[in-house]
Symmetry: C2
Subunit: 275 residues, 2 copies
């Protein structure tokens, strides 16, 4: 039997990033249904809300109205959407009331606050972290390595670069990364520049089968991508992490978000995300 | 008068990224209060929940109990937290019931679903996009530029690189970027390789004052950072965008998230984020 389908809209007066993440994490709890998803950001006027309502009504079919997730701070805009043929799940409406009661104050109902102020310290930290991470990708530079919050080590294509960038962009963490290569294995030790900062090191490993798959996409049929070579490199890398007592994680079945959050948690780094 | 302060906890059985974004966007609506925030991810057992409850109780003071935002799919774990001295705002509890009723089915209550499956197409698209974006940062390569979903142009330090990386990591968008330099202004036109893909171009500009500030941090006292030079470059860059009729945006007061979402919206790119 094919999975049933349902339309879902994510509507925001800002970027739509929060509402999409919010709605998506709920929808993943309903595996047997396929959701056709539409994000509509920057709905900051009743006129734009009316356009949304038209789209929602057009998507409604007999017995299957669309799900509409919203983060709308303006009640007037929200009411326009509510009158459409949908199940409305508004994120602010449900939570602002109990928060206002608890805090004994009114919320500002200001649009577009979610992602922090540009120019504040948190925000500048994130940009600095991105620049640092780019300058220290793939072992490019050992300069200022003492400024790194974390240094990821692992064989080529074990997930170090995307994880480093995510740590920088999302959490403002200065993440360097260093690829373990045959020279390191021959030497039987990490470079001294890294060992001096052992408490900042974190290892990523991966199953040899998955690694071979990823490497074959980049260099089909190469020795680099062969399963024998991948097995050898992974074995050597894991032995080295054990020898140096570096905490490590297998990235094979984990998303960038999970790997990044685990690294933060294990290295006990503070999250100073700007979102 | 100093702002009042309040403790806030973000507790998740997964990465904590969704709950932190969710709670943060609500708290930014209460500007007059300073929130001391703690994220506790990977709370996937009642034992870990009891540790959280202890932390919450220790943070409670007379007349000021902590705010606790949670995304916990397991009711037993949630109940442990609920018994702590706090205002509990659980994201799943409030929304899963109406969703189950609407969809006529039970949710799976599976932990750690939020960020998508590793190895599915969406996820691979994101990794491919990150690799593409890194290879096409700062005009590094015109190779395979026809595969770019978007090409950001703008003067050095106008926000192109962080925006490109965010587009790739968050939305799986292949974003190249190209810096406008004096040679381009002297020529009075963009390089032919870019003009061939004009429908994918998007410009970023910035106020000369902010640009000078950012550049002074990197190269203090340089001609590159001088306000005169910044004024000249920004003027030339904006004239060029107008001449080529490229859509553009001023990044001065916008967060990476806002810029990225605006670019997607304007270039009418599909979001295929993996979160």
């Amino acid at each position: 039997m094919s999975r049933s389908t349902r339309r879902a809209f994510f509507i925001s007066d800002g970027t739509g990033i929060t509402v999409e993440m919010f709605g998506h994490s709920l929808l993943t709890q309903f595996e047997e249904i396929e959701f056709q998803q539409t994000v509509i950001p920057f709905v900051d006027s009743t006129e734009k809300a009316r356009d949304c309502a038209t789209q929602i009504n057009a998507a409604a079919t007999a017995g299957s109205r669309p799900l509409v997730f919203t983060t709308l701070v303006n009640a007037e805009i929200r009411d326009v959407i509510r009158r459409a043929d949908c199940l409305l799940l508004d994120f602010f409406e449900r939570f602002l009331d109990p928060l206002e009661a608890e805090l004994g104050t009114r919320s500002s109902h200001a649009i577009g606050r979610s992602h922090g102020r540009v120019g504040n310290k948190e925000y500048r930290d994130r940009i600095d972290a991105v620049n640092f991470t780019l300058a220290h990708d793939d072992g490019m530079s050992h300069k200022e390595l003492d400024m790194a919050d974390v240094i990821l080590v692992g064989v080529s294509r074990s997930g170090k670069t995307p994880t480093s960038l995510y740590l920088a962009l999302q959490f403002g963490v200065k993440a360097a990364n260093y690829p373990l290569i045959p020279e390191d294995f021959a030497r039987g030790a990490l470079p001294p520049a890294l060992l001096e900062r052992k408490e900042r090191l974190f290892g990523l490993t991966i199953s040899p089968e998955r690694l071979a798959e990823i490497r074959h996409e980049r260099r089909p049929g190469s020795k680099y991508a062969s399963i024998e070579n991948c097995r050898h490199e992974v074995e050597q890398a894991e032995a080295m992490m054990r020898r140096h007592e570096i905490p490590w994680l297998n990235s094979t079945t984990r998303s960038i978000e999970e790997i990044a959050a685990k690294v933060l948690h294990e290295v006990k780094l503070e999250r100073h995300g700007g979102f």
